[in-house]
């Protein structure tokens, strides 16, 4: 019997202007957990899309059990028992768990659904792999963790034995991540082969057997995880040594910059308030982190803080002046800088040039306009300066269209714009989301530099590593309230995880209706 279930041999795939995969070979053994590691844009997704039939390689062959196969579309992949859990789940929210699992392969007799057998199969599978789900619950009502288990069951129901996980831990709490890891181990023990796309080294060290590292579309190597370490993997991935600890100066927080009092923000999704009265302060030289699972009111609070949405009650004071009702531009001029959570949607005008994006808030200043006419020369000079200082890499300098830049450099451009304003308060939401280690290191050091220069920083993050490493104070948000306040040195990831999941809150708020 062939040792490898899947062999991707010398795969090359080009897109206009870029070689996304350059002669990459990846071999997956039966029953192993194989991590695919690489920075953003390294070609991981392209490679997996080739395997899943979404792209055709320019050259190279794919073999299943030693036999060459052609995968033209996801249906072919499915016929070869290749399944994929996408980063963003592909579930029908208003269907039940069971309906979602059988969707597309509904068992029927003369065109009538026969759900009974399907249910038995699902229940059997979920017991076998300890994937606890409620078959009759609607997907919109269940937790993200359970939705992911539904996705896994979908693959198992189709008898897939090659399972691709695309960054599966991005949306999970620490507890859920642990659970997922043990599920993956269980699946591998049953003979399933797993391809695990990630850029989190801890997870690889914990669960993977082997790891293939890609960098800039090229294969760097495949290593046995047991014989390597985090430092080595990160060096392979980025091409240089990376420091995991964020270096911070010891400084005493100074005057209060931001004061938030009993802020209530209505929700756009439901009738309840998204933020149910929160109060805290951020002082000079301090990074305060709002931690929590997505959807617990952090985004809405930031919208209210930056003026994008109105709050229904409460007061926000910036450096002594009440900004509760100020316009977005006024707040910006008073010294709030803002790194939005979705850089494409909110951070950049992708069809503008880099230079035009860098002056998105400054174009009205005297330096950049005269009598309403933009002084493009000054704008370009300014852009060149920021490009130099913040090491923003782009094809055509200031004239590069933002859309064509890599995610990390787009984020650097936003940071450059926001930090160069020298704001009193920097609000950063998920500033490293979707970025690779090299870029994360860069961005963390920029944020810390801002703090070290005596400015206030409010960081909103879902990544507990980031929360623990960067912040001076942690506020955990749960269901629109602050569930607890911690110092990173005096708490653990596990404790934070409990508070993020609401367990820490139980002691205090009993008898409160949902």
């Amino acid at each position: 019997m062939e040792e490898y279930v899947i062999e991707m041999l010398n795969i090359t795939k080009s897109f206009p202007g870029i070689k996304a995969n350059d002669d990459i070979t990846l071999r997956l053994k039966k029953g192993e957990i194989h991590a695919l590691l690489g920075e953003n844009g390294a070609g991981k997704s392209t490679l997996m899309s080739v395997l899943f039939g979404l792209y055709q390689p320019d050259s190279g062959t794919i073999k299943k059990d030693g036999k060459p196969v052609k995968i033209s579309n996801p249906n072919d992949a499915n016929d070869l028992n290749i399944g994929m859990v996408h980063q963003h789940f592909k579930l029908v929210e208003v269907f039940t768990v069971l309906d979602n699992i059988i969707l597309g392969v509904e068992p029927n007799k003369f065109g009538f659904l026969t759900k009974k057998e399907a249910r038995e199969k699902v229940v059997a599978l979920s017991q076998k792999y300890s994937l606890s789900v409620e078959p009759d619950a609607l997907v919109e009502d269940i937790s993200v963790g359970m939705q992911q288990r539904v996705e896994i069951l979908k693959m198992l129901y189709r008898d897939n034995d090659i399972l691709i996980f695309d960054e599966p831990t991005a949306v999970l709490t620490p507890q859920e991540i642990k659970e997922l890891m043990s599920i993956m181990r269980g699946l591998a023990a049953e003979g399933k082969s797993i391809l695990f796309i990630t850029h989190k080294l801890n997870e690889i060290m914990e669960v993977a057997d082997r790891c293939t590292v890609l960098r800039k579309g090229k294969l760097i190597g495949t290593v046995e995880v047991a014989q390597t370490n985090r430092e080595e993997l990160s060096k392979m991935m980025v091409g240089r040594p990376i420091s995991f600890e964020v270096e911070k100066q010891d400084i005493e927080p100074g005057k209060t910059v931001l004061k938030v009092e009993n802020v209530v923000v209505p929700s756009k999704l439901h009738k309840n308030n998204a933020v149910k009265g929160i109060s805290f302060e951020v002082r000079e030289g301090e990074i305060v982190c709002l931690a929590g699972i997505e959807g617990n009111g952090q985004s809405e609070f930031v919208y209210a803080l930056t003026g994008i949405e109105k709050m229904s009650s409460g007061k926000i004071t910036l450096c002594g002046s009440d900004i509760s009702k100020a316009s977005i531009r006024k707040r910006s001029l008073l010294g709030i800088s803002h790194i939005p959570e979705d850089r494409h949607k909110y951070g950049l005008v992708l069809d503008f040039s880099l230079a035009e994006n860098l002056v998105l808030q400054h174009y009205r200043e005297k330096l950049f306009q005269r009598f309403g006419f933009i002084r493009f020369k000054e704008v370009r000079n300014y852009a060149r300066r920021l490009i130099e200082i913040y090491d923003i890499r782009s094809g055509q300098g200031p004239d590069t269209i933002a859309r064509s830049m890599s995610g990390g450099n787009q984020q650097k451009a936003i940071l450059a714009r926001e930090i160069d304003k020298n704001p009193q308060l920097l609000v950063a939401i998920q500033p490293t989301r979707g970025l690779d280690i090299g870029a994360i290191e860069n961005i963390h050091s920029l944020i810390v530099k801002q703090r070290d220069s005596g400015k206030a920083v409010l960081l909103v993050s879902l990544e507990l590593d980031e929360v623990m490493n960067v912040s001076d104070r942690i506020l955990v948000m749960y269901e629109g309230k602050i569930a607890g306040e911690f110092e990173p040195s005096k708490t653990t990831v596990e404790e934070l995880g409990l508070y993020m999941a609401g367990a820490g809150d139980k002691a205090r708020s009993t008898g409160q209706g949902g």
């Binding site: 206009p16 994008i308 910006s332 009205r364 309403g372």
Partner: protein, 384 residues
Amino acid sequence: MKKVREFLGRRSVASFLSSLISIIIGLVFGYLLLLAFDSEKALFGIKQILFAGVSSPAKIAKVLYQAAPLVLTGLSVGFAFKTGLFNIGASGQYMVGACFALYTGIVLRQPWYVAMTAAMLGGAIWGLIPGLCKALFNVNEVITSIMFNWIGLFAVNLFFSNTPKILANYYGSANANRTANLAAANARAIIPTLGLDKLLKSPFMNISILIAVAIAVVAFIVLNRTTFGYELKACGFNKNASIYAGINAKRNTALSMTIAGCLAGIGGGIYYLSGTVQYTIEKVLLSMGFNGIPVALLAQSNPIATIFSATFISYIQVGGDAMQPEFAKEIIDIIISVIIYLSAVSLLVKGLITRLAERKKEAAPSPGQDTAQTPDDSKQEATS
């Protein structure tokens, strides 16, 4: 060889080439239709379409005369496009503009420039209302502006029917269903010719094309050189990011539609103040406004390119008119529409060219070809 690739890779070149190729596709398809309708006279027909527009100075005058309002409705649609809005209401704005101009010129007896200002105002009002609906209540501007086309049409008809002083029969003509001849009613309201009519030996020639070109240049400068244009484009490309940056997106939405209305309104004014045409009371939306859409598409919303695309479409129409009586009016309309609308597929062609250029970068250099000079949009950024 390398030059060719670089040349093709430049976005302005890709834009120009794509428009050119789509025009050719449109013409070929038009010829095929002519063959299908009447194969014997097809050659005559396509010759007329291609060359009638330059066959005499008078024809050139006719082309320019019709191009002027088209430039303006094209600018109207293109300006809104740049801001992320689809102004399908240029037709209504055009009619209301014409109505304001004619009332000011005929009944209020004002000179042409006052009447033009009134036209601008009328169009602006007709653009402002859909703009406000979009900005304040997030009502889709396509729906409101379509409705405002019809509201505009019937409001103008109603107004003309009930204003005896504006109608032709008040000034001695037999017709009660059209507005007065400006020469009879108030010659001062006619747009001056500055001798251009003598130059081209055509009563149709006046300075309207010069006005349209000047306005196109202003629109270009506003969009590409000013903070105001920067804001408008930012809102058009990415409303959310603009709001984040503190730009007042609602104000810009309303303003953009107002300016679009202004432009279409001037178009109405410029056409009906020429003194050679009278507004006829009919229950049909005027196509001049709708033709602004292909004009803008063909120009890829670039104001300077709009001058050329409008002239082209006007040229085709003059050519079409010259096909009578060998071809029926309806057939000519079909063929012209086909050419115009196929011409507007330029965005599709542009994508193909860009891809081709990028592929060439990787593959071996292709054999050389002459690098034609492009029009002066080389500095202009390609539109969305």
